[in-house]
């Protein structure tokens, strides 16, 4: 066990699916060799195939404490990162040639089924689910690594792959039930979200969190009673882990999505929510019912003009408070000096 645990809460009611988080992560961390297809942070439309495609059917994790067999997602499952014929299209190719992805049929990228979701028109439903490494309390990847190349940091519980020790055996990819580990073919190592540890070490929130225009990400220590994380996860219990049955105890939590009631033919609300509750339960466990009820009640309180600490936290009037102790401005920090011999 780590001494403390940092965690992230994402409020799905505020997620607008804009992918600024994905871009923030991409431009900061994964533009190097072998990383073209990597999106350590993704946002997918639920229900949907997710990233990697159909990851929920790939196994891994634990059941009753026992590791479960898992499937190793290939580069194709994550979606191709196409290159394009720019030169041909703009400089010297046949007149009128189209700009197109190279390599034949493009197949489906990591976010192909955006805004599709479930149901039949006009009884549709969908919502956005941003995902990153869950930095689990009981990381399946760590247990599975024969090189012991995966560490869980003592000071904050961030799970990191030691790239000097990793030899690319990829047991971690099989073991991780969330399938958030990528393989760098150029370097022969596994890579994944590092929870922006260089930023957190300097008191600056993760890029995906700090750059989120929807203001739905909270960062902080789980044991900090004054921080929003503790209140959302423990005090109000409205932030739930994704697929708790995978047995890894994720430290990324979600406030589940509300949806309006369906209506009967006369327009009377039936009380049945637009997003099927059994679907939400399949993602967030049985607690999702009481969480949604609480959110509805607290919103109603606010509508009547009564105070609600929970709503105030989720509204996040002062955005910087979403990040607990990680509230430093990136500009304000000392630029890291690497020793020159």
């Amino acid at each position: 066990m780590s001494k403390r645990q940092v965690a992230m809460v994402m409020d799905l009611n505020k997620c607008i699916g804009c992918q600024t988080c994905t871009v923030a992560c991409k431009t900061l961390w994964t533009r190097n060799e072998g990383q073209k297809h990597m999106l350590w942070n993704t946002v997918n439309t639920q229900p949907g195939q997710g990233t990697p495609h159909n990851w929920e059917k790939m196994g891994g994790g634990f059941r009753n404490g026992e590791p479960q067999p898992g499937h190793r997602p290939g580069v194709g499952d994550f979606g191709k990162a196409w290159d394009f014929n720019y030169k041909e299209a703009f400089h010297g190719g046949e007149p009128g040639v189209r700009l197109a992805p190279l390599g034949g049929e493009p197949g489906q990228g990591p976010n192909h089924d955006e805004d599709v979701g479930g149901g039949t028109y006009p009884d549709n439903y969908f919502f956005y689910l941003p995902r990153l490494c869950n930095h689990c309390t009981h990381p399946a990847c760590l247990e599975a690594c024969p090189r012991k190349a995966i560490e869980k940091r003592e000071e904050d519980g961030i799970v990191l792959i030691n790239e000097d020790h990793c030899r690319g055996f990829r047991f971690c990819q099989e073991a991780c039930p969330y399938k958030k580990i990528y393989f760098n073919e150029a370097r022969g190592i596994s890579q994944k979200c590092i929870f922006c540890f260089p930023r957190l070490d300097q008191g600056v929130a993760n890029a995906c969190a700090r750059q989120c225009p929807g203001r739905l990400r909270f960062v902080g220590y789980l044991d900090d009673p004054d921080g929003p994380i503790h209140k959302l996860v423990h005090k109000y219990g409205v932030a739930l882990p994704l697929h708790p049955e995978y047995g890894t105890e994720p430290n990324v939590y979600y406030v589940p999505p509300l949806s309006p009631s369906k209506h009967d033919a006369d327009g009377k609300p039936t009380g049945e929510m637009q997003i099927p509750l059994d679907y939400l339960e399949s993602l967030f466990g049985k607690k999702v019912h009481q969480v949604l009820a609480l959110l509805i009640d607290e919103r109603e309180k606010n509508r009547k003009g009564e105070k609600s600490e929970l709503m105030d936290i989720l509204i996040a009037r002062e955005w910087i408070k979403n990040f607990g102790p990680f509230d430093k401005h990136p500009r304000s920090i000392e630029n890291i000096k690497v020793v020159v011999k």
Binding site: N13, I16, C18, Q19, T20, V23, A24, T27, L28, W29, R31, N32, E33, K36, K80, F84, Y86, A89, H91, G93, P95, G96, V97, R98, L99, A100, G109, P110, N111, D115, V116, T120, Y121, P122, N124, D164, F197, P198, R210, Q211, P213, G214, R215, P260, A265, G267, N302, R303, M311, R317, E318, W319, I320, H329, R331, N335, V338, V339, V340, K341
Partner: protein, 965 residues
């Protein structure tokens, strides 16, 4: 160690950059200290964690932003991080101060596109050197030339055209480069000094908000985005703000937590509908019927605010039953004014003139519903009735059942919408430009405005009808108009006198500003050279032959009373609308400045077939290759937004002027468009002197002196091509819009909150206070300070007493079935702004395409796809009477059966040969949009009143196609 793959590729194509720019480089541990080519020491390898730590380091960080037209979501302050001479990433500045304790703050703003401009600016589409076409136009073969060679050739052609054919044969097609700052100063100035033509694009691109102009006399009015937090009902009516307002969207979700309800009215279950408490899936193009149905119920259920209606609207005005015209003083008295209108006063039980210098009614109590008889000046008696009485007749058929049938929704939805609006304390809608792209969208906007006016949901905190959000700077207009340095600081005496006289006579500042910008659409109207602004829509229709697509077509259920040609001749003949150069005077040179008409213009194939052959030179200035550069004679490389200091107009939604600083030098030989235009002016002057050309007479009787062009352009060298920032400083300081904040402070911080609305041509309509510690409330000056509206009646106007509106029975708002534009086909092609691009600016960014789809696609409903044997990812052909194009099929249950959708922004070169998404859009002229005339608020002025282009509801059929090449 690894190198940045994308950057390395970029360097191969970039002749301007030097080597050694890997994002991070380490020497092998234990080896001798290594040095990069830039001479920097390479740190020793100390461990994998340091690789990541090193990745998040930088040499320099400056405040920047993206000077493109993100519009509703403009603008965001970013930190731009530079390492080894290149921008390597950006992250939001996120330092917006809280407005007050109640409102959520504006942090962090930003979006997915802004977050990767550092990738886009170095990608393979970037242009770094002037290119001249080799071989035929569109042949995709280029040679590098020098700026001097390119400008000399262009300047010589310009002088040939101006002397032999006319000064107005040179056209400026301005896209998002119209920053209303540095660039605008440059092209407005060269337009005025050479009498070349600036195309006003706003209505042409489909953002004209015609219905707002018709109703409020202006389009520019909007509250701030944080004001949504005060609302208790937010209507996403005909828009998808989760796509179009990414940085503002948190105000919606947060208002919802505060207790606000959200209702989405849209045919498809879009990204915004999922956040709503109620989704009303009305058919495309039926918003007018729904709004009139709601208005009818609000009146029936007594949910209207009579005092607001009496004071703020023309609904109480009397109309003659014999002529159907407003009753005016000219009817009643010899020498009476046609601009004084009447109401029936319940207090004195008599017909009384309505006040016109103020909205305050005093003792008057104008009747809503009334019919009376009045004696005219000739002694005859006529029956008159109020606009309100007429409106009741107009809307009585719009029962929930009838509306349900038109809209394809359950009648209870109409009732529920009316009840929610009627019971809410504060209702606001989100701005949208969907209606501007529908042939009858103006009627829909007018009907929606009626709902807001009847309930008094205008001009109060958390309540309001959204127009066209735009907030600019007055200072740039002095560069448009000034003849000398003195006039940069104060209006020319001729114009100052006009303002003084009009204001003294009781006109509002806003009205005079609108009239002034109308004058800029009439070349030669004042005896000195002003910039020539012309209607983009009419330009393309007349000079690029777009109208040929519809003029010879069947009526397409437009209900035309006369041919469109006849309507256009009337509008030009009566000077209701401008077309410069005049029909028959072919354009000879066109500059597209960061503008992409071959991507944008509906029916764009006509540009290739009709306009391009008329042009001696087609010059595109841009930082990237695009649909238009493919057909250019010259491509001139423009620096990007991180390579120059600039700012741009913003919107009241986020009332912060946002400044971008030069983070790195411009790549290769690229120059700012500001600099390029000044250098062109210099070259024209040089060539004119060499060729002995001086004064040339314009077709409108003015004189233009080419031999002193640069001298006058620069105010005798005071503002030259090197002085872009000096121009900005002048603009910044001129309007005194930012309190005590100096230009230097604003530049350093990157953003500054407006302290008052700018009284410029494009944003004067806002006319409201900008409180330091509270939200901005649109139209508050009218509602709270009783300042008249800039309409003919000086009220929110629902009765449009113009001959064209009488001819088409649109004097009052109504529902009209959509025309069958394109022919009799079963599917309605609709569209929308995409999440993945700002117009086309990021559309072919590989990063954006990798995160969604790499090829253009049309979204088709499950049923329509199945009926045609179409499966996900199939290539399909979309066709109608005027053209066809191919795209991938995206089959989605979110799409309404009968509706199909292609999102905005795909480049022409994204599509397989044979057509693009504009190939099926004839965009016929709607005759009522040609309105104009003295005393009418329906006339062309900056960004409004000029006729729209329509692509929504185009009729198409879709079928399986051969696999594309």
């Amino acid at each position: 160690m690894s190198t940045n793959f994308d950057r390395r590729n970029f360097l191969k194509i970039s002749a301007g950059a030097s080597a050694g720019l890997a994002m991070h480089s380490f020497a092998a541990a234990g080896g001798a200290p290594a040095r990069t080519l830039l001479g920097k020491p390479v740190p020793a390898y100390t461990g994998w964690k340091d690789v990541y730590r090193q990745q998040w380091t930088w040499d320099k960080v400056v405040r920047g932003t993206h000077i493109t037209n993100c519009w509703y979501q403009a603008h965001c302050a970013w930190d731009v991080y530079v390492k080894d001479g290149l921008v390597f990433r950006e992250e939001q500045a996120a330092e917006y101060e809280k407005v007050n304790d109640e409102l959520p703050d504006y942090n962090p703003r930003g979006c997915n596109k802004g977050g990767c401009f550092s990738e886009r600016m170095y990608d393979p589409t970037r242009v770094t050197h002037p290119l001249k076409r080799v071989g035929e136009r569109g042949g995709n073969k280029w040679e590098r030339v020098s700026w001097d060679a390119a400008l000399t050739d262009i300047a010589d052609t310009w002088l040939d055209v101006a002397t032999k054919e006319g000064t107005d044969r040179v056209i400026w097609d301005i896209g998002p480069a119209d920053d209303y700052a540095q660039n605008t100063a440059a092209f407005a100035r060269i337009s005025g000094l050479t009498q070349s033509v600036l195309l006003d694009m706003n209505t042409e691109i489909g953002d004209g908000h015609r219905g707002a102009l018709e109703t409020f006399g202006k389009i520019s009015f909007e509250s701030s985005a944080d004001d949504y937090f005060y609302s208790d009902l937010i209507l996403f009516w005909a828009g998808n703000p989760l796509y179009t307002q990414i940085p503002n969207a948190h105000f919606f979700t947060e208002a919802k937590y505060r207790g606000a309800k959200i209702i989405s009215i849209a045919p498809d279950y879009n990204a915004s509908a999922i956040k709503a408490d109620l989704w009303i899936p009305a058919k495309p193009g039926t918003d007018a019927a729904l709004a009139l149905g709601v208005a009818r119920l609000l009146i029936k259920d007594g949910k209207i605010k009579p005092d607001f209606i009496r004071e703020q609207t023309d609904l109480v005005f009397l109309v003659r039953n014999d002529t159907q015209h407003f009753l005016t003083e000219a009817d009643l008295k010899d020498g009476g004014k046609a601009t004084v209108f009447y109401a029936y006063d319940e207090a004195t039980r008599s017909v009384q003139p309505m006040p016109w210098k103020t909205l305050t009614l005093g003792e008057l109590r104008p009747a809503l519903e009334h019919t009376a008889h009045v004696r005219l000046k000739d002694g005859s008696e006529v029956a008159v009735s109020t606009v309100y009485s007429r409106m009741l007749l107009r809307i009585e058929d719009y029962t929930p059942e009838h509306v349900g049938r038109i809209c394809g929704i359950e009648p209870w939805m109409v009732k529920r919408l009316a009840a929610e609006i009627g019971n809410a304390k504060r209702v606001r809608n989100t701005t949208q430009s969907t209606h501007s792209k529908l042939y009858h969208g103006n009627l829909a906007t007018r009907a929606m405005a009626l709902v807001f006016a009847l309930t008094g949901q205008i001009g109060h905190k958390g309540a309001g009808f959204s127009g066209f959000p735009m907030l600019a700077n007055e200072g740039v207009e002095s560069f448009m108009i000034a003849r000398n340095l003195k006039e940069l600081d104060e209006h020319p005496p001729e114009i100052a006198a006009m303002f003084a006289q009009r204001m003294a006579a009781g006109d509002t500042l806003e009205q005079v500003i609108n009239d002034m910008s109308n004058i800029l659409m009439q070349p030669g109207a004042l005896p000195f050279a002003l910039p020539v602004n012309a209607s983009g829509t009419l330009f393309w229709h007349i000079h690029a032959g777009i109208s040929e697509l519809s003029d010879h077509a069947a009526d397409w259920n437009r209900g035309l009373k006369r041919s469109v040609k006849d309507h256009v001749s009337e509008a030009l003949g009566k000077k209701w609308q401008p077309c410069v150069p005049k029909p028959g005077d072919d354009p000879r040179i066109m500059f597209s400045v960061m503008s992409n008409p071959l991507r944008r213009i509906r029916g764009n194939q006509k540009i290739v077939e009709v306009l391009l052959p008329k042009l001696a030179k087609y010059v595109v200035l841009d930082f990237r290759m695009n649909s238009s550069t493919r057909f250019a004679d010259y491509v001139l490389p423009v620096s990007t937004w991180y390579e120059r200091t600039n700012f741009k107009w913003v919107t009241p939604l986020s009332p912060y002027l946002t400044i971008t600083n030069a983070a790195t030098p411009a790549l290769g030989e690229s120059k700012s468009d500001f600099e390029a235009i000044f250098l062109l002016a210099k070259k024209i002057e040089e060539r004119a002197r060499a060729r002995g050309i001086a004064v040339v007479r314009t077709p409108h009787g003015l004189e233009v002196n080419f031999s002193t062009l640069y001298q006058r352009m620069t105010f005798d060298g005071t503002y030259t091509e090197k002085d872009g920032e000096k121009v900005l400083k002048h603009i910044f300081e001129h309007g005194k819009l930012f309190g005590d904040v100096t230009w230097e402070q604003a530049k350093e911080k990157g953003f500054v909150r407006y302290t008052r609305i700018s009284n410029d041509f494009v944003s004067a309509g806002n006319q409201t206070d900008i409180p330091k510690n509270d939200s901005i409330v649109a139209l508050a000056n009218h509602v709270q300070k009783k300042v008249p509206y800039p309409t003919t009646t000086r009220r929110i106007q629902f009765y449009l007493d113009h001959p064209l509106y009488h001819e088409y029975d649109e004097v009052l708002p109504r529902h009209k079935d959509a025309p069958t534009m394109g022919g009799n086909y079963p599917l309605l092609l609709s569209g929308g702004k995409a999440r993945w691009s700002i117009h086309s600016t990021w559309r072919d960014s590989r990063l954006m395409m990798r995160m969604h789809r790499p090829e253009p696609y049309v979204v088709i409903s499950v049923g329509d796809a199945a009926a045609r044997g179409i499966k996900e990812m199939d290539w399909v052909s979309i066709r109608n009477d005027i053209g066809s194009f191919k795209a991938r099929a995206a089959v989605s249950p979110t799409m309404q059966p009968g509706q199909t959708m292609i999102y905005n922004g795909w480049e022409r070169h994204h599509f397989p040969k044979g057509g693009d998404m504009n190939s099926v859009s004839p965009s016929p002229i709607n005759p009522v949009e040609l309105a104009g005339g003295a005393g009418q608020h329906l006339r062309p002025f900056f960004i409004q009143g000029q006729g729209s282009m329509f692509d929504r509801e185009t009729r198409v059929e879709i079928e399986l196609a051969e696999r594309a090449a």
